[in-house]
Symmetry: C2
Subunit: 135 residues, 2 copies
DNA sequence: ATCTAGTTTATAATTATTCTAAAGTGAAAA
DNA sequence: TTTTCACTTTAGAATAATTATAAACTAGAT
């Protein structure tokens, strides 16, 4: 991902490109594969990589701004921490509770044949399939 | 649900039937319909109903013992609190984020036609479908 | 009725996350 | 370029959910 795209991601999230935010954005978006993380793991990886110490509050703020702008999605995982995903397309997840690892499933790899009737006056926002794994 | 069944639920969870535990168990399991709750909501409902003040720690301990014994299931919901469900059969959920309300979906009301290949050496423990609703 | 291991409870501790307010900085305007 | 100021970063405090602790209590075996 080019530098200009990183700046676009920031600006489209309503964020001015400060040193810290650029560092976070590059770490998240300059990758081939999708990336799953918690704020805690992101913090550790960032400080390990660059030795810099970005305040946790800054990471929370930046990640939430990206999420609100639709550049990150939040994944529901059994447990206490919130997981994020750089894959914002419509897709599903495997969850391996042995390793606490999330794995993306392409939306096309799951076909739902029958869906239940939706409650009165409501519409479907989205459907998430979660496949829990064991050994 | 008969009193003897409440005692069975407790004993099968490795819990001696104390006054507090019986009160929690009756409140949870003496119902026709399935019941969704958080520890916080359960605590409020219990104190409103009987005026008794069961310590939060006791509610946490008891609910977790029921969960471990398979008498309650935990439902993943976007947010910070943990939801529990008295329906422990294989089933799915609607989630209405407007009202923070969970609604059960019978397992037979969703048919999945195609599932992805499972990662090496892993097996599927279960498949959960989560339908987010909007107005 | 007594005794003991298991329980309850209030409170402290922990963990994830958000808030705060002081010090620092990007970038628009001069 | 330099100034200026609203936006940022940061350390630490505050909050919220949950878990741990340890002293007082109790179910149920003896």
């Amino acid at each position: 991902m080019k530098k200009i795209d990183i700046l676009k991601k920031l600006r489209s999230s309503g964020l001015r490109p400060t040193k810290q935010r650029v560092e976070i954005a590059k770490f998240l978006f300059e990758r081939e594969k999708t990336f799953h993380f918690t704020v805690e793991s992101l913090n550790k990886l960032l400080s390990k990589k660059s030795g810099s110490k970005i305040a946790l509050a800054t990471i929370y703020n930046t990640v939430h701004a990206f999420k609100t702008a639709g550049h990150l999605s939040e994944v529901e995982v059994r447990g206490n921490k919130t997981y994020f995903d750089t894959n914002v397309s419509n897709h599903h997840h495997f969850y391996d509770s042995e390793t606490s690892e999330l794995i993306d499933i392409d939306a096309n790899d799951i076909i739902i044949q029958k869906l239940p009737k939706v409650p009165n006056g409501k519409k479907i926002k989205n459907v998430e399939v979660f496949i829990n794994l064991k050994n």
